[in-house]
Amino acid sequence: MTAMHTTEHKKRGAVASKDRARSGLPRSRPAISLSYVILFVGVAIALVPFLYVVSTSFKESTSLFSYPPDWIPSPIFWGNFESLFADHPFAQWTFNTLFVSGAVTALKLWFDSMAGYALAKMEFAGRRGVALLLLLSVAIPISALIIPMFFVVRYLGLLNTYWALILPPLANPLGIFMARSFIVGIPDDLEASARLDGASEFTIYRKIVLPLIRPGLVVLGMFTFMLQYTSFIWPLIAVQDSDRQVLAVGISGLQSAFLQDWGLLSAGMLAAAIPITVVFLLVQRAFVFNDLSGALKE
């Protein structure tokens, strides 16, 4: 067991300490030029569709269907955004989404790092069984569980509440294994000496483990937040009250209401894209997008 941890640690340590592999890779000038061309095309395909949204959101619906399409709306029309906040609970949806995603992320980081610590570092009866059970449940498709989940949440009296949106995602076990893979890399000696000094497991977790796995937790947190921010099918089912709804479902309702108001829909999409983009840009610096793939090794 200890030997396994140590080799894992050495491997991870080697990866972290050596120069990025890039420096070792021979690159010719044409290869670099070709890479820039490929990336330019990729970025264009990623971004051009957004131009439609930005352009349409500032147009009055009557001028939408001019042909050929004019990209820059004149005059700039703010009515779509006014309607979004005046006629629809858009601010409420945004708050709900941020609140629910934030709560799920915070709770999951806390619970998953604790569970990951237990699985990585503690010897206890039933360890293999628990690990196997949780690993198997990674492969359970959540959208196949919407019917029973609906009845469980109804039974608990939580339909139409924030709890209905926050609690079920906590059962997603993927984060446990990601956290475990970060913690396995911490040398056993560190905890052993703290344990000799009389530190409790919780103190070791809080004072030694948590600070050491912070970079990994940032990635896991962003991943969890994004998954939650974009979740759709469960909020659609668990919440009927428009005031409790999240952005993704709220926006899809803008379209199907009675007629297709493209201007309003675009304004909604643009406004909904802003918070998550800001969050992403904020953590982007810390985002050494490192391997989450270590999670499923066992």
């Binding site: 592999a21 990729g42 000696d189 992403f280 999670a295």
Partner: protein
Amino acid sequence: MTHIDPGLTGAQMTLSSEEHRRLAKRYRRRTTLTAYAFLGPNLVAFVVFLLIPVVWLLVSTFRTGGVLGPAEFVGLDNWRDTFSDPLARTSIRNTVLYSAMAIPAVFIIAMILALALHAIPRGGAPIRVALYLPTLQPAVVAAFIFTFVLHPDFGVINYAVRWLGGDPINFLGDTTLALPTIAGIEVWRGTGFWTMMFLAGLTALPGELYHAAELDGAGAIRRFIRLTLPLLRPTFYFAVIFATIVNLQLFDSVFALTDGGPVNSTVSVSLYIYRSLFLFGDIGFGATLSFLLVITVLLLTGLQTYLLRDRK
């Protein structure tokens, strides 16, 4: 490296073997309790929101009703209904076809972009952010964005088609084009995510190996096939399994764009499950279809694990 075992402190010398065994046992019991305390919140969530639902599903496949009237045991009726329902078969076929199109496409495109990002000396950060923007959008938003892009009248693609002298294409209104179009939209949204994943894998590769390979005269393509791909096996393992689990649950973009149409050509399993609960209220049927989806994903994941295992 000095390794101090907490069990081997000076105090041990003075203990009788029986006392030592007793203390060791107590220590193990305490560790087990602590471990389960650490696992507690996750185990509770696991039982309430995964285990109970799955068991509930299994039981419901043998029952009918439950929404208005009391549930009744009906034996294998639901299973017979599900297997003989043509739309259930169509939904399974559509979901599998969709995954077979979307997963290889997004992996190949993301791998090319990751290799390109890995090769460039500077400018990577803003490019990564730009590539990642589609991934940050909910699937319904991506879907609506593409109703603009693909629109027969004012979409940019049909603008190009007309300019080239062709007839505008109704991507989402055509029974053969609708499913590939939805796959394409999901590829657009997923590319950023997988590019970053593959880039992380590439960045962690040992550079010395490449030096050696280059000295041996291996060309770029040969190096990629003989070195990079095998070394990235752990990344691919995670990618294939995760992508399979996610893609077989296709729902959001279908719900937002076509609602299964035209002529059921885009009905996915998840959409049909949703309908069975909220449109025609047949819980037994929906539960059976759900249970089938669970079993399919579990089996596929197991098969992939077997095929992608480390052969040493």
